[in-house]
Structure formats: structure tokens, C-alpha cells
Assembly symmetry: C2
Homo-oligomer: 402 residues x 2
């Protein structure tokens, strides 16, 4: 195991706020990139005012939301509307590899800090942005929110119970998908730069990212003319593949093929007759009679706990698992072994838990190293590296530039 992150050679100037952008730069920082988060003086990232909160060691209300997603980043303040702020930013761009922002398209250009300007300063700079609809097209200036990405990207239309309303995925999936696509784009551009010697622009849209995540929905619709309906937890092509109620919750059973179904009938349900019963004997029949199969399964498992039912079914070689809530996830031995949550000491919040990194690299191991920055905590160190003296830094502070 090396002590070095996979991206330790990269310097990232991070202008992002809230979730989609900061989720991207969190992954980059977890993998060792030197991420300098640049915030507006005084106010900072909006999520510094987002719940959940904890009363910190100074008796102030401080955000755990911000602390979770901004660990491993350095933090400076810089007013990009002030001329001196622009100059300092441009100086930082000279030696950076990546600039990331999630403003509405056009904002950076208006500030005089768009890609066209930055690439003149440093042709190797990679410029990544994520916005609701991307940097092109008729909707590019529309405000973008996670829920709009989920709605207009088609995820809501296919999520929800049969006959029920279109349903939002319970986390900010539009933002998460945008952040993941942005990270891929930036790293692909890093590879391209190793060939071409120059940077480029990466332009990610929440709506595009959600469309990509609906995989074959368009192909299905175009071929059949049928708009895929919402169908709860069921899957159009396979049955039984659904949630089933047991004593203390709901479990999933996923019989992907005929052999697994027959095993389920004989070894779990004690109902070998259901193998030959014409209602269930083939996949088509099972799809048409799913409710009847569900009743038999739920009756059989009614007295078992989730743990007991899952162990029993897995022991017969049939795919199964619990529907976990977050308390059960945090207690799960697999989750612990995979270090998907990590304990961290924060200077003002004290002991806290943050999300782990889902990208497991066995040599350059991603890690949670430093807590999220206090607003402007690295101003002096970063500005001194640019050659500014104590007096100049004090003047910038007094002038509200940092």
C-alpha cells in the first residue's frame, strides 16, 4: 500500500457550491488531488447554512452537511467580483490543472474568468462545469435544481408505485449523477492532456446525466411505442423480482431465471406444484400472475425476521437481501469492512462520521485525511505561496477581497 493518492499530482481550483460540484471535488480530494475550495468572503458555500447542524465548540450552529462533503479540501476566500480577486484567481490558474464550477452558464464569462480567458493564461488548464442543462442549447440559462434534473431527465416518470404518481429518487440523484459524470470527464481530459499537451472544457448537465442513467428506456419506447409505466419494485422482464413483506420489514428476492424460480418453489416454498402450474410455469405466466406468487411467498415467510428470511433463501442459492434503512446500513458488517463510513475529528465540531469513498483502489488508497476547511482557513498559506507579503494579505482582508 502506497501513502500516495491516485491524483496527488493534480491541483484543483474548486469554485463549486452545494452538492453536484462539491461531490465531484470530494472524490478528487479523497483520491489525493490538492483541492483548493474558493468561497465568497463572509458568506461562503450555501451549505455552511444547511442542516443537519451541531452546536460547535464555540457555541455556534455549524453544518455537518458542509463538513461531510468538503473534507480533504483546503479553503480560501476570494471575491471574484473585485479586481484583486480576479488577479489572484488568474495567478492560481497559472499552476493549476483543473478549474471546476457549478454556476449558471455565463457567470464565469461575465466575471471575465471564462474558459476562453483562462486557457490563454494556462493552455493546460482543464475547465469543468456542471449545471442544470449544460452550456449549450435553449435551456442553458434556466435555473437548475436536482429535482428538475430528475423530472426532465425522465427518472421520475419511471419511478413510483404502479398507478401512482411520478416519484423523485429519495436522494439528490440528479446532483450525484452530475458529479459522477463530471469526475469522469475531468479524468478523461487529464488523460487526453497527456497526449495533446493541452486542456479542454468539460460541460456536464444534470438533465443529460439523468437521461444517461435511465439506460434502455428510450430504446424500449422507440421500438414498442409504449411509454414504460411505473411499476414499483418490479422489473418488466423478470419475476419474482420484487420486495416481499416479512415479520419486521421487507426483503428482496430476485429470481433471474427459470432455474432459480424452480429452486424457490421446491426449497423455499415447499410448493413443487407451482413449477408445473400453468399460471407460473414460464416467465410470461409469472409476470401476469405476480400478485399470486407474492401472496404465497409472503405467507411462507410471515413469521421470519428479515435476517432469518434472507439467510434461509441465500442458503438455497437464491439471490435475496434486506431493504435496509440507514440505521441498518450503519450497523452492517459488510459496510464496516468496506469502510463506507469513516470517523473523523473536526476542530470545531468534534468527533463526527463522514461518508467513505466508494472507489476502492488497492495501491493508491483513497482516504479521509483532513476535516472540511473553516471559511478562509488557508488564505495566508495559499497567498504566501503566490508571493504575497503579510501587508498585502492584510490589505486584501481589510478590503473584503478575501
Amino acid at each position: 500500500m502506497s501513502q500516495h493518492g491516485a491524483l496527488e499530482n493534480l491541483v484543483v481550483l474548486d469554485l463549486t457550491r452545494v452538492l453536484a460540484g462539491p461531490f465531484c471535488t470530494m472524490m478528487l480530494a479523497d483520491m489525493g488531488a490538492k483541492v483548493i475550495k474558493i468561497e465568497m468572503p463572509v458568506s461562503g458555500d450555501d451549505t455552511r447554512a444547511y442542516p443537519p447542524f451541531r452546536t460547535n465548540c464555540n457555541g455556534e450552529r455549524e453544518s455537518l452537511y458542509f463538513a461531510n462533503i468538503n473534507r480533504n479540501k483546503q479553503g480560501i476566500t476570494l471575491n471574484l467580483k473585485a479586481q484583486e480577486g480576479k488577479e489572484i484567481f488568474k495567478k492560481l490558474v497559472e499552476t493549476a490543472d483543473i478549474v471546476v464550477e457549478n454556476y449558471r452558464p455565463g457567470v464565469m464569462d461575465k466575471l471575465g474568468l471564462g474558459y476562453d480567458v483562462l486557457k490563454e493564461i494556462n493552455p493546460r488548464i482543464i475547465y469543468g462545469s456542471v449545471s442544470g442543462f449544460g452550456n449549450t442549447g435553449p435551456y442553458r440559462l434556466r435555473p437548475g435544481y436536482d429535482i428538475l434534473g430528475q423530472a426532465m431527465g425522465g427518472l421520475m416518470a419511471i419511478t413510483g408505485s404502479k398507478g401512482g404518481e411520478p416519484t423523485r429518487a429519495g436522494s439528490a440523484m440528479g446532483d450525484i449523477l452530475g458529479g459522477l459524470h463530471l469526475t469522469i470527464g475531468l479524468l478523461a481530459a487529464i488523460n487526453a492532456r497527456s497526449i495533446t499537451g493541452k486542456g479542454q472544457r468539460v460541460d456536464i448537465s444534470l438533465m443529460d446525466s439523468v437521461i444517461a442513467a435511465t439506460e434502455n428506456t428510450a430504446i424500449k419506447y422507440l421500438e414498442s411505442g409504449i411509454i414504460p409505466p411505473r411499476m414499483g419494485n418490479r422489473y418488466a422482464a423478470v419475476s419474482p423480482y420484487d420486495g416481499f413483506k416479512v415479520q419486521d420489514g421487507t426483503i428482496i428476492i430476485a429470481c433471474g431465471n427459470q432455474k432459480l424460480y424452480e429452486k424457490l418453489c421446491t426449497e423455499v416454498l415447499d410448493r413443487p406444484d407451482m413449477i408445473t402450474d400453468p399460471r407460473f410455469s414460464d416467465m410470461e405466466g409469472r409476470l401476469a400472475n405476480q400478485d399470486d406468487i407474492r401472496d404465497v411467498i409472503e405467507e411462507k415467510l410471515a413469521d421470519l425476521t428479515m435476517d432469518e428470511a434472507v439467510s434461509f433463501i441465500l442458503s438455497k442459492g437464491i439471490p435475496a437481501g434486506p431493504i435496509y434503512d440507514i440505521s441498518q446500513i450503519l450497523a452492517d458488517p459488510q459496510v464496516k469492512e468496506r469502510e463506507m463510513f469513516v470517523e473523523q475529528e473536526h476542530p470545531t465540531l468534534g468527533h463526527m462520521t463522514v461518508n467513505g469513498c466508494a472507489i476502492k483502489l488497492d495501491d493508491t488508497v483513497p482516504s479521509v485525511r483532513t476535516p472540511a476547511p473553516a471559511l478562509g482557513q488557508d488564505n495566508d498559506a495559499v497567498l504566501r505561496r503566490l508571493g504575497l507579503g503579510e501587508g498585502e494579505i492584510d490589505a486584501l482582508r481589510a478590503g473584503g477581497v478575501i
Copy 2:
């Protein structure tokens, strides 16, 4: 605009099947990597037998699912259980950059083709895998399905209507998230290799990937002790931020702050009294009385179409958008401008539409170039490049190795 893809220097040996792995290698191929998809002789990838189907030019039923997600890839067949198959695979590893597989953990080791063997052949090889639970931990050998990742990763528990059942995201979101995390891990490892000179192993789990996508759920629960409930399309901290019924469908209105709410009251609802009404005057009140606000909004918009309502609300500077189904997405001008669906000629399926790439790079532009491979179509070309002669290739074919 360059004609070269961002990853054109990379050769990927792709052993993946179904969705999570092929979605990853699709992105790599869209960005120019030379992806050689390796399938079992005769049967091939399971999804060659997945709907939707089209009767092809030979009068056979052929899968559009497979064709969509495997465009831009070359295809060879290779029986990795046969000694000659193993030898050919090892020879391919000598000059490849990346091996990707989504078998259950242990399968490649049992074949004698695990990472420990491959890195002896080529220390620069990067070995990526995606499985239900990853390569470590007590569940590593459990069967992994998308729905199990969604269930055990906690996405289902927070998705669904208020008081309703846990709900699966309507696409295979566990597989998609796994494929995205895998792609990031592989590209990070490529960057690390440029520093260390050697490859490493990337180990992605669907469950981990889903946990990461539930963002702050754990932080919220740990601080409050409250398991986040399902709440349909609403958001715990902001209101109105929900779906609202109009004449011909449902639209989203997202008032992220007090100013947007007040604008909604005066300019959309003609109800300035709702600004000062103590039930709605602050966010807390609005969260407690969401149903009342919804009734006012829906009454006001009842006679408008989705298009009319969205245009009207956007014109007032308030974030809004339609809940689109796939037919509306395909017709949308923004989606067309962003090229999220691309027309392609397939040699046996004819004219078809495939998904575009959501990763927009402005110099090394991702593209859809070649159709998905027929089973084994590139056997001769690839084996000849390894130095095999016509007779040897015929013998491999006769022996069922390719």
C-alpha cells in the same frame, strides 16, 4: 475540434456482461478507448437475449439492448476455461492497459486469470471489477443484482410516497452507479500509473456505490436519531419544492428560498396575502402546511398545459420544469441540441437510435462511431495481430476456443 478521443491511447479488455460493466466500457469506448469485448463462444453476453428485440435482416430476433450499450466496441469470442483461451487472453494482457470484469469475486482467480497472475504478465495493467458487494467483506460471494444494491444501499428506503412502500428507482440505478464509480476508478488509476509506472486493482461494489449516492442520509440520521422517512417528491428542508398537477401532466416548482416564494405568491399566484399569512410566512411554516400551498398552486394552474405553466413560471424567474416521460424527452429541443440520442446504422438491425454520451468534452469529443459487434466479429483481426496464422485460427474455431 479534434478527431481523437480523450482515451484513444488506451486498450481495454472487456470481460463484462449485462449492464454495470458494459455501461462503464461504453463510456470508455465513447471517449475513444479501444475496447475489445470478450464473450463466451456460442452464447455471448446474456443481453444478446434481452428485450427489446427487432427482427433483423436475417429474419432472426436480435437485441437492441445489447446493440445500444455495446456500440463502439470490438468483439471477440474466447473460452477462458480452455487452456488455449487462457493463453490468448494472457497474450492480450501483455499489451493492454485495462482489464474489466463483473464476475462474482473469485471467478477470475479460479480461472487462473486473477489480478495477481495478470500483473506478473504486465505490471502496468489496471484491473477493474464491479460486483454486488465488492471483493472484500462477508458478503463478497453473495449474488449481486441491481435491485439488491438499491435495497441494501439504502436508496429504496428513502424513495417512495409518504406512508408508502420502499420503492426501487425505475432504472437499474445500482448498476449505473456502479459503472460510473468503476469508470472513475479506472481513470484515476491511469493517472496514478503516470506517476508510479504500475497498475493496480479497482474494486467497485454496487452496494457501496448506492450508499455513496444517498449523500447526507447517514449524517442526518446520526445527528438526529431519526430515520429519514419517504416523502414522495418533497424535500425535507425546502417548500414549495414538489410536483404540481396541471391540465395534462405534472410540473415541478422549486422555490429554494424566501425570495422565490414571495415572487411565486405575487407574480404567479396573485396571492400576496400568503407572504404574511403566519401559516406560510417562513420555511418552517411552509413545510408544515405544504398541502395547503399545493392546493392553491394547483387551483391556479389547473387550466394550463405543462408547457404553458412552465413558461409562465419561468418567465417570473422561478425555477420550474415538466415531469417528462421518454416520449417528451425524445422530442425536447434541449435534448436534441445536447445529442443525447444518436442515429446509427447497424449492419443487421438497420437504422436505430442509441443513447448519446453525457460527458461533453469540447476538444476530444466523445462519439458514436461503430455499431455493437456481432458475436466474434473481430476474432480474425485480433488473433492475427497476436501473430496467429490462418490454420491456427481455424483450429481454435474448430475446437470451440473462439
